[in-house]
């Protein structure tokens, strides 16, 4: 009985394919990875992130100095201007310092927005939402392709653009209202 089973097992084993191909061709990716110069993929990105944090820090300090002497009610930031969690794909985060600095800029923006017409306020809010959606879309793409340098650069650019919008709206309004050189 045991011998019979062994024979069946041996016959079944002989019928098995002698080699199994992977479901998809992995070699091009492996070969490319082996050929590619090894580099710390997070290094340029974190360098850029660090640059942004520094940029925000400096900007925040300048903005704080500029507005600290002003009197006026500070209104709550509209919920739709609260930013989503900053991240670089699924693997990277720029940390709470970045978010804190950006929150500060958003709070200052709220003061400046109060000086503008409802239409302009709405347009600024809409465009910040556009930026958030873009950041979300890039992050989604990065989830699928975390090592895509173009996407990483685009994400950094999107964050930079967001900060640029915050500063421009606040800066333009404040500068015109308070120009002392004229």
């Amino acid at each position: 009985m045991t011998e019979l089973n062994d024979d069946k097992l041996a016959a079944a084993a002989r019928r098995l394919p002698t080699e199994i191909s992977p479901e998809r061709d992995l070699w091009p990716g492996i070969a490319e990875a082996v050929r590619a110069p090894r580099r710390a993929r997070w290094t340029p990105m974190f360098a850029q992130a660090a640059a942004i944090v520094l940029l925000i820090g400096a900007s925040s300090a300048v903005t704080y100095v500029a507005v600290s002497g002003q009197q006026g009610p500070v209104t709550q930031v509209a919920p739709n201007l609260i930013f989503e969690q900053t991240s670089f794909g699924s693997r990277y985060n720029v940390g709470p310092g970045f978010q804190d600095a950006r929150d500060e800029l958003v709070a200052q923006l709220d003061v400046e927005l109060a000086r503008l017409s409802p239409q302009t306020r709405a347009e600024v809010a809409t465009n910040l939402e556009v930026l958030h959606e873009a950041i979300f879309a890039i992050n989604e793409a990065l989830e699928r392709d975390p090592d895509n340098l173009m996407l990483q650069a685009k994400l950094v650019n999107a964050y930079r653009e967001e900060l640029s919008v915050l500063r421009r709206v606040g800066g333009l309004t404040r500068n015109v209202m308070m120009r002392n050189d004229i």
Partner: protein, 293 residues
Amino acid sequence: MMKKLIAITLSFLLVMPVMAEEVDETLDAAPDGQVDISNIAGSITVTGWSRDAVEVTGTLGRNVEELIFERKKDKVTVKVKVPRHGGRGIDSDLHINVPQNSSIDVSAVSADIDVTDVLGEQRLHTVSGDVSSESAGNDVEAESVSGDVEVDGDKSDTETIASTVSGDVTLFRVSGTVSAESVTGRVIVDEGSFSRVDLNVVNGELLFQAGLRKGGKLSAETVNGAVDVELVGDVSAKIDVSTVNGRIRNCFGPEPERTSKYAPGWSLRFTEGDGDGRVDISTVNGGVKLCRK
């Protein structure tokens, strides 16, 4: 009779503050001096003329405190002073003639800015309104938050910086270096030849139809939107085009390649001519067209 007189007097007193004040003043100015202009709301039109004088005409809003119009050495100042809290009745429409070679710095919050025939440097900033500069012959920095920005140059080598948050940026016949960006809107560069071009849009199209000089660099980036680049004249550059979701159509160079069998992205990398310049084009969601003529 007395009642009638009182009624007429009251009517006159009521109507009087509503009336905008006309302004028509002129000051001598340096032929190539600086003119700083600030008007919170209304409109600002600046025109370069052949006289060595600055002339301000137009109307001031009924609640405007005063028009500051003065000259200190080579700098002329035109400022509409309004109550600190702003409010209604501050809209002022100003037409200002300046010496053609003046440099100008114009600031507004809720006003359109139109500049024509000014050959000095221009700094034009508004929050809510369109910015337009025609026949610009020098460096221009034009910025709006909510409004279109348009600069029409004379093809002389200059530095042009144009940005808006919500609106289109259109640059005609500028040359040299250019940086243009919009969050929601189109960026168009038509004619001219450049050593450096940086175009950035988040939601919208990018259109570039101009020359790239030897050793020149062109960067065109969008997140959601198509990019259409037509390089005029000889092309000598390393070209790198990539998309995440979108096709690439090119009229020269090799066929684009899929970035992966499993993703919808495309890339195109090649060297044209001596390859001493750079063309970098990328978009996340949108197609790219690259041609030359």
